[in-house]
Symmetry: C2
Subunit: 199 residues, 2 copies
Protein backbone atom coordinates (compact mmCIF):
# COMPACT_ATOMS: atom_id res chain seq x y z
CA UNK A 1 0.00 0.00 0.00
CA UNK A 2 1.33 3.42 -0.86
CA UNK A 3 1.22 5.23 2.48
CA UNK A 4 -1.46 7.68 1.38
CA UNK A 5 -4.02 7.18 -1.36
CA UNK A 6 -3.50 9.54 -4.30
CA UNK A 7 -6.45 11.94 -3.78
CA UNK A 8 -5.49 12.20 -0.10
CA UNK A 9 -1.79 12.71 -0.87
CA UNK A 10 -2.72 15.44 -3.37
CA UNK A 11 -4.76 17.23 -0.73
CA UNK A 12 -1.99 16.88 1.87
CA UNK A 13 0.45 18.39 -0.67
CA UNK A 14 -1.88 21.33 -1.23
CA UNK A 15 -2.17 22.02 2.50
CA UNK A 16 1.59 21.74 2.86
CA UNK A 17 2.10 24.39 0.21
CA UNK A 18 0.36 26.89 2.52
CA UNK A 19 2.42 29.21 4.67
CA UNK A 20 3.50 27.68 7.99
CA UNK A 21 1.95 24.22 7.50
CA UNK A 22 4.12 21.18 8.24
CA UNK A 23 3.66 17.56 7.20
CA UNK A 24 1.79 16.34 10.28
CA UNK A 25 -0.57 19.33 10.32
CA UNK A 26 -1.27 18.86 6.61
CA UNK A 27 -2.22 15.20 7.15
CA UNK A 28 -4.45 16.19 10.09
CA UNK A 29 -6.19 18.81 7.97
CA UNK A 30 -6.68 16.43 5.05
CA UNK A 31 -8.33 13.92 7.38
CA UNK A 32 -10.56 16.71 8.72
CA UNK A 33 -11.73 17.23 5.16
CA UNK A 34 -12.51 13.52 4.83
CA UNK A 35 -14.55 13.73 8.02
CA UNK A 36 -16.59 16.65 6.67
CA UNK A 37 -19.89 16.13 4.95
CA UNK A 38 -19.68 16.42 1.16
CA UNK A 39 -21.63 19.70 1.37
CA UNK A 40 -19.16 21.18 3.85
CA UNK A 41 -16.26 20.15 1.63
CA UNK A 42 -17.93 21.93 -1.30
CA UNK A 43 -18.49 25.07 0.82
CA UNK A 44 -14.81 24.95 1.82
CA UNK A 45 -13.69 24.60 -1.79
CA UNK A 46 -16.02 27.42 -2.85
CA UNK A 47 -14.68 29.71 -0.13
CA UNK A 48 -11.17 29.31 -1.57
CA UNK A 49 -12.37 30.31 -5.02
CA UNK A 50 -14.47 33.14 -3.58
CA UNK A 51 -11.60 34.63 -1.57
CA UNK A 52 -9.36 34.44 -4.61
CA UNK A 53 -11.82 35.84 -7.16
CA UNK A 54 -13.76 38.40 -5.07
CA UNK A 55 -10.79 40.09 -3.47
CA UNK A 56 -8.63 42.54 -5.37
CA UNK A 57 -6.14 45.24 -4.53
CA UNK A 58 -6.98 48.84 -3.65
CA UNK A 59 -5.86 51.18 -6.46
CA UNK A 60 -4.56 53.66 -3.94
CA UNK A 61 -2.97 51.87 -0.96
CA UNK A 62 -2.54 48.39 -2.53
CA UNK A 63 -4.28 46.76 0.45
CA UNK A 64 -6.60 43.84 -0.29
CA UNK A 65 -10.12 45.04 -0.97
CA UNK A 66 -13.47 44.16 -2.44
CA UNK A 67 -13.52 46.38 -5.52
CA UNK A 68 -11.00 49.05 -6.50
CA UNK A 69 -10.98 51.02 -3.26
CA UNK A 70 -10.46 49.61 0.22
CA UNK A 71 -12.62 50.65 3.15
CA UNK A 72 -9.79 52.64 4.75
CA UNK A 73 -9.08 54.73 1.65
CA UNK A 74 -12.83 55.23 1.19
CA UNK A 75 -13.16 56.52 4.76
CA UNK A 76 -13.29 60.34 4.77
CA UNK A 77 -12.43 60.56 8.47
CA UNK A 78 -8.91 59.16 7.92
CA UNK A 79 -6.00 61.57 7.71
CA UNK A 80 -4.54 61.25 4.21
CA UNK A 81 -1.47 63.28 5.07
CA UNK A 82 0.05 60.44 7.12
CA UNK A 83 0.85 57.19 5.30
CA UNK A 84 1.95 54.11 7.21
CA UNK A 85 3.99 51.77 5.00
CA UNK A 86 3.61 48.06 5.82
CA UNK A 87 4.88 44.83 4.28
CA UNK A 88 1.54 43.15 3.76
CA UNK A 89 -2.18 43.27 4.48
CA UNK A 90 -1.59 41.50 7.78
CA UNK A 91 0.38 44.55 8.90
CA UNK A 92 -2.68 46.71 8.21
CA UNK A 93 -4.85 44.31 10.23
CA UNK A 94 -2.41 44.35 13.16
CA UNK A 95 -2.25 48.16 13.25
CA UNK A 96 -6.01 48.57 12.79
CA UNK A 97 -6.57 46.43 15.87
CA UNK A 98 -4.75 49.05 17.95
CA UNK A 99 -7.35 51.66 16.87
CA UNK A 100 -4.74 54.40 17.45
CA UNK A 101 -3.54 55.22 13.94
CA UNK A 102 -5.90 57.52 12.05
CA UNK A 103 -3.86 57.94 8.88
CA UNK A 104 -3.90 55.73 5.79
CA UNK A 105 -1.69 52.83 4.70
CA UNK A 106 0.49 51.71 1.86
CA UNK A 107 1.04 47.98 1.41
CA UNK A 108 4.37 47.00 -0.21
CA UNK A 109 3.47 43.33 -0.80
CA UNK A 110 6.81 42.06 0.44
CA UNK A 111 10.29 43.22 1.36
CA UNK A 112 13.49 43.57 -0.58
CA UNK A 113 15.10 40.14 -0.33
CA UNK A 114 18.00 39.25 -2.64
CA UNK A 115 17.89 35.70 -1.21
CA UNK A 116 14.36 35.22 -2.53
CA UNK A 117 15.12 37.22 -5.67
CA UNK A 118 12.79 40.06 -4.69
CA UNK A 119 14.04 43.48 -5.71
CA UNK A 120 12.49 46.94 -5.19
CA UNK A 121 10.76 46.73 -8.57
CA UNK A 122 8.58 43.83 -7.42
CA UNK A 123 7.28 45.86 -4.49
CA UNK A 124 4.63 48.59 -4.66
CA UNK A 125 7.21 51.33 -4.13
CA UNK A 126 6.58 53.33 -7.28
CA UNK A 127 2.88 53.45 -6.35
CA UNK A 128 3.97 54.99 -3.03
CA UNK A 129 6.11 57.62 -4.78
CA UNK A 130 3.21 58.42 -7.13
CA UNK A 131 0.94 58.96 -4.12
CA UNK A 132 3.41 61.33 -2.51
CA UNK A 133 3.70 63.32 -5.73
CA UNK A 134 -0.07 63.38 -6.22
CA UNK A 135 -1.28 63.99 -2.69
CA UNK A 136 -0.37 66.36 0.12
CA UNK A 137 1.56 63.93 2.33
CA UNK A 138 3.23 65.22 5.50
CA UNK A 139 4.59 62.06 7.11
CA UNK A 140 5.54 58.56 6.05
CA UNK A 141 5.78 56.06 8.91
CA UNK A 142 7.75 53.03 7.78
CA UNK A 143 6.33 50.04 9.66
CA UNK A 144 8.03 47.11 7.92
CA UNK A 145 8.96 44.32 10.35
CA UNK A 146 12.18 44.74 12.38
CA UNK A 147 13.86 41.87 10.49
CA UNK A 148 16.90 42.05 8.23
CA UNK A 149 14.73 42.36 5.12
CA UNK A 150 12.30 44.76 6.79
CA UNK A 151 15.12 47.05 7.93
CA UNK A 152 16.79 46.99 4.52
CA UNK A 153 13.50 47.88 2.86
CA UNK A 154 12.92 50.69 5.37
CA UNK A 155 16.41 52.09 4.64
CA UNK A 156 15.87 51.84 0.90
CA UNK A 157 12.54 53.65 1.01
CA UNK A 158 13.77 56.35 3.39
CA UNK A 159 16.62 57.10 0.98
CA UNK A 160 14.23 57.25 -1.98
CA UNK A 161 12.05 59.72 -0.08
CA UNK A 162 14.85 62.19 0.69
CA UNK A 163 14.13 64.43 -2.35
CA UNK A 164 10.51 64.84 -1.22
CA UNK A 165 9.43 67.33 1.39
CA UNK A 166 8.03 64.74 3.71
CA UNK A 167 8.90 63.63 7.23
CA UNK A 168 9.98 59.98 7.27
CA UNK A 169 9.77 58.04 10.54
CA UNK A 170 10.30 54.44 11.60
CA UNK A 171 8.31 52.59 14.28
CA UNK A 172 10.24 52.13 17.53
CA UNK A 173 12.29 49.12 18.53
CA UNK A 174 12.43 48.20 22.21
CA UNK A 175 11.22 45.76 24.81
CA UNK A 176 7.72 44.43 24.24
CA UNK A 177 5.38 45.33 27.12
CA UNK A 178 5.38 42.55 29.72
CA UNK A 179 8.85 41.34 28.70
CA UNK A 180 11.79 40.66 30.98
CA UNK A 181 15.20 42.35 30.61
CA UNK A 182 16.87 39.04 31.40
CA UNK A 183 15.41 37.30 28.37
CA UNK A 184 15.69 40.14 25.87
CA UNK A 185 18.29 39.75 23.13
CA UNK A 186 21.22 42.18 22.96
CA UNK A 187 20.11 43.97 19.79
CA UNK A 188 16.65 44.68 21.21
CA UNK A 189 18.17 45.91 24.48
CA UNK A 190 20.63 48.11 22.62
CA UNK A 191 17.81 49.62 20.56
CA UNK A 192 15.69 50.07 23.70
CA UNK A 193 18.48 52.09 25.30
CA UNK A 194 19.11 54.09 22.14
CA UNK A 195 15.43 54.86 21.81
CA UNK A 196 14.98 55.88 25.45
CA UNK A 197 12.52 58.70 26.17
CA UNK A 198 12.07 61.30 28.90
CA UNK A 199 9.48 60.40 31.49
Amino acid sequence: MELLLKPLQDLVDKFRSLDGVGKKSAVKMAFSVLNMSEDDARIFADSIIAAKTQLGICDCCQNISVGNECSICADDTRDRSIICVVEDARGVMALEKVKEFKGVYHVLHGTISPMKGIGPDQLKIKELLARIEREDVKEIIIATNPTVEGEATAMYISRLLRPFEVKVTRIANGLPVGADLEYADEVTLYRAIQGRRDI
Copy 2:
Protein backbone atom coordinates in the same frame (compact mmCIF):
# COMPACT_ATOMS: atom_id res chain seq x y z
CA MET B 1 -13.17 48.65 8.52
CA GLU B 2 -14.23 45.23 9.66
CA LEU B 3 -10.92 43.56 10.53
CA LEU B 4 -11.14 40.99 7.74
CA LEU B 5 -13.07 41.32 4.51
CA LYS B 6 -15.96 38.88 4.29
CA PRO B 7 -14.58 36.42 1.68
CA LEU B 8 -11.31 36.32 3.62
CA GLN B 9 -13.04 35.88 6.97
CA ASP B 10 -15.12 33.05 5.49
CA LEU B 11 -11.97 31.29 4.31
CA VAL B 12 -10.25 31.81 7.68
CA ASP B 13 -13.31 30.29 9.39
CA LYS B 14 -13.13 27.26 7.08
CA PHE B 15 -9.45 26.70 7.86
CA ARG B 16 -10.16 27.11 11.57
CA SER B 17 -12.76 24.36 11.42
CA LEU B 18 -9.99 21.91 10.48
CA ASP B 19 -8.42 19.72 13.12
CA GLY B 20 -5.58 21.40 15.03
CA VAL B 21 -5.72 24.79 13.28
CA GLY B 22 -5.70 27.91 15.47
CA LYS B 23 -6.68 31.46 14.61
CA LYS B 24 -3.24 32.75 13.61
CA SER B 25 -2.47 29.72 11.45
CA ALA B 26 -5.85 30.03 9.75
CA VAL B 27 -5.17 33.67 8.86
CA LYS B 28 -1.70 32.73 7.56
CA MET B 29 -3.18 29.99 5.38
CA ALA B 30 -5.91 32.25 4.03
CA PHE B 31 -3.29 34.80 3.01
CA SER B 32 -1.31 32.02 1.33
CA VAL B 33 -4.39 31.33 -0.76
CA LEU B 34 -4.59 35.01 -1.72
CA ASN B 35 -0.97 34.87 -2.80
CA MET B 36 -1.62 31.85 -5.04
CA SER B 37 -2.38 32.21 -8.71
CA GLU B 38 -6.07 31.79 -9.53
CA ASP B 39 -5.25 28.48 -11.23
CA ASP B 40 -3.51 27.15 -8.14
CA ALA B 41 -6.47 28.19 -6.00
CA ARG B 42 -8.76 26.27 -8.32
CA ILE B 43 -6.51 23.18 -8.17
CA PHE B 44 -6.54 23.43 -4.38
CA ALA B 45 -10.34 23.69 -4.30
CA ASP B 46 -10.63 20.76 -6.72
CA SER B 47 -8.33 18.59 -4.61
CA ILE B 48 -10.69 19.06 -1.64
CA ILE B 49 -13.65 17.90 -3.70
CA ALA B 50 -11.61 15.08 -5.25
CA ALA B 51 -10.45 13.73 -1.88
CA LYS B 52 -13.98 13.88 -0.56
CA THR B 53 -15.71 12.30 -3.56
CA GLN B 54 -13.13 9.77 -4.77
CA LEU B 55 -12.36 8.23 -1.42
CA GLY B 56 -14.72 5.79 0.22
CA ILE B 57 -14.55 3.19 2.95
CA CYS B 58 -13.38 -0.40 2.52
CA ASP B 59 -16.33 -2.80 2.90
CA CYS B 60 -14.20 -5.15 4.94
CA CYS B 61 -11.83 -3.22 7.21
CA GLN B 62 -13.55 0.22 7.05
CA ASN B 63 -10.24 1.87 6.15
CA ILE B 64 -10.37 4.73 3.62
CA SER B 65 -10.02 3.39 0.09
CA VAL B 66 -10.51 4.12 -3.57
CA GLY B 67 -13.42 1.81 -4.38
CA ASN B 68 -14.98 -0.82 -2.12
CA GLU B 69 -11.85 -2.68 -1.14
CA CYS B 70 -8.69 -1.14 0.28
CA SER B 71 -5.25 -2.17 -0.95
CA ILE B 72 -4.45 -4.02 2.28
CA CYS B 73 -7.58 -6.18 2.19
CA ALA B 74 -6.95 -6.79 -1.53
CA ASP B 75 -3.40 -7.99 -0.81
CA ASP B 76 -3.29 -11.82 -0.77
CA THR B 77 0.02 -11.91 1.09
CA ARG B 78 -1.50 -10.41 4.25
CA ASP B 79 -2.46 -12.76 7.09
CA ARG B 80 -6.23 -12.48 7.49
CA SER B 81 -6.23 -14.39 10.77
CA ILE B 82 -4.75 -11.44 12.69
CA ILE B 83 -6.78 -8.23 12.83
CA CYS B 84 -5.33 -5.08 14.29
CA VAL B 85 -8.07 -2.74 15.55
CA VAL B 86 -7.25 0.98 15.28
CA GLU B 87 -9.17 4.20 15.95
CA ASP B 88 -8.77 5.77 12.54
CA ALA B 89 -7.05 5.58 9.17
CA ARG B 90 -4.07 7.45 10.58
CA GLY B 91 -3.49 4.50 12.90
CA VAL B 92 -3.23 2.23 9.86
CA MET B 93 -0.74 4.62 8.26
CA ALA B 94 1.39 4.74 11.40
CA LEU B 95 1.52 0.95 11.72
CA GLU B 96 2.13 0.41 8.00
CA LYS B 97 5.21 2.63 8.25
CA VAL B 98 6.76 0.12 10.67
CA LYS B 99 6.50 -2.60 7.97
CA GLU B 100 6.37 -5.22 10.74
CA PHE B 101 2.71 -6.11 10.94
CA LYS B 102 1.59 -8.55 8.25
CA GLY B 103 -2.02 -9.02 9.33
CA VAL B 104 -5.02 -6.91 8.36
CA TYR B 105 -6.74 -3.98 10.05
CA HIS B 106 -10.10 -2.88 11.32
CA VAL B 107 -10.77 0.84 11.59
CA LEU B 108 -13.28 1.86 14.28
CA HIS B 109 -13.66 5.50 13.14
CA GLY B 110 -13.44 6.90 16.64
CA THR B 111 -13.51 5.87 20.27
CA ILE B 112 -16.26 5.56 22.82
CA SER B 113 -16.54 9.03 24.32
CA PRO B 114 -19.58 9.92 26.42
CA MET B 115 -18.26 13.52 26.61
CA LYS B 116 -18.56 13.85 22.83
CA GLY B 117 -21.74 11.77 22.76
CA ILE B 118 -20.07 8.91 20.88
CA GLY B 119 -21.33 5.48 21.94
CA PRO B 120 -20.31 2.01 20.71
CA ASP B 121 -23.09 2.06 18.09
CA GLN B 122 -21.45 4.93 16.21
CA LEU B 123 -18.21 2.95 15.86
CA LYS B 124 -17.58 0.14 13.37
CA ILE B 125 -17.73 -2.48 16.09
CA LYS B 126 -20.56 -4.60 14.68
CA GLU B 127 -18.63 -4.81 11.41
CA LEU B 128 -15.70 -6.21 13.41
CA LEU B 129 -17.92 -8.83 15.08
CA ALA B 130 -19.35 -9.78 11.69
CA ARG B 131 -15.81 -10.29 10.35
CA ILE B 132 -14.90 -12.53 13.27
CA GLU B 133 -18.03 -14.62 12.74
CA ARG B 134 -17.47 -14.80 8.99
CA GLU B 135 -13.72 -15.38 8.82
CA ASP B 136 -11.23 -17.61 10.57
CA VAL B 137 -9.69 -15.05 12.93
CA LYS B 138 -7.09 -16.18 15.48
CA GLU B 139 -5.99 -12.94 17.10
CA ILE B 140 -7.35 -9.45 17.59
CA ILE B 141 -4.72 -6.84 18.51
CA ILE B 142 -6.42 -3.79 19.99
CA ALA B 143 -4.28 -0.79 19.04
CA THR B 144 -6.48 2.13 20.09
CA ASN B 145 -4.48 5.02 21.55
CA PRO B 146 -3.42 4.75 25.22
CA THR B 147 -5.77 7.60 26.20
CA VAL B 148 -8.78 7.43 28.51
CA GLU B 149 -11.15 6.98 25.55
CA GLY B 150 -8.83 4.57 23.76
CA GLU B 151 -8.45 2.39 26.87
CA ALA B 152 -12.19 2.41 27.54
CA THR B 153 -12.85 1.36 23.94
CA ALA B 154 -10.23 -1.39 24.19
CA MET B 155 -11.86 -2.71 27.39
CA TYR B 156 -15.32 -2.59 25.83
CA ILE B 157 -14.24 -4.50 22.71
CA SER B 158 -12.23 -7.07 24.66
CA ARG B 159 -15.33 -7.81 26.75
CA LEU B 160 -17.51 -8.13 23.64
CA LEU B 161 -15.02 -10.61 22.17
CA ARG B 162 -15.02 -12.97 25.17
CA PRO B 163 -17.69 -15.30 23.71
CA PHE B 164 -15.58 -15.79 20.57
CA GLU B 165 -12.72 -18.27 20.37
CA VAL B 166 -10.16 -15.64 19.57
CA LYS B 167 -7.05 -14.39 21.34
CA VAL B 168 -7.39 -10.69 22.25
CA THR B 169 -4.24 -8.66 22.88
CA ARG B 170 -3.45 -5.00 23.55
CA ILE B 171 -0.36 -3.14 22.32
CA ALA B 172 2.20 -2.53 25.08
CA ASN B 173 2.53 0.56 27.23
CA GLY B 174 5.98 1.58 28.39
CA LEU B 175 8.77 4.04 27.86
CA PRO B 176 9.19 5.26 24.29
CA VAL B 177 12.62 4.39 22.86
CA GLY B 178 15.06 7.24 23.54
CA ALA B 179 13.07 8.50 26.54
CA ASP B 180 14.41 9.33 29.98
CA LEU B 181 13.14 7.71 33.21
CA GLU B 182 13.38 11.08 34.93
CA TYR B 183 10.85 12.71 32.64
CA ALA B 184 8.42 9.80 32.28
CA ASP B 185 5.04 10.20 33.97
CA GLU B 186 4.10 7.83 36.82
CA VAL B 187 1.42 5.91 34.93
CA THR B 188 3.77 5.16 32.04
CA LEU B 189 6.53 4.06 34.43
CA TYR B 190 4.06 1.86 36.36
CA ARG B 191 2.92 0.22 33.12
CA ALA B 192 6.54 -0.18 31.98
CA ILE B 193 7.34 -2.09 35.19
CA GLN B 194 4.14 -4.15 34.98
CA GLY B 195 4.88 -5.03 31.39
CA ARG B 196 8.55 -5.98 32.01
CA ARG B 197 9.94 -8.83 29.93
CA ASP B 198 12.73 -11.41 30.36
CA ILE B 199 15.94 -10.50 28.58
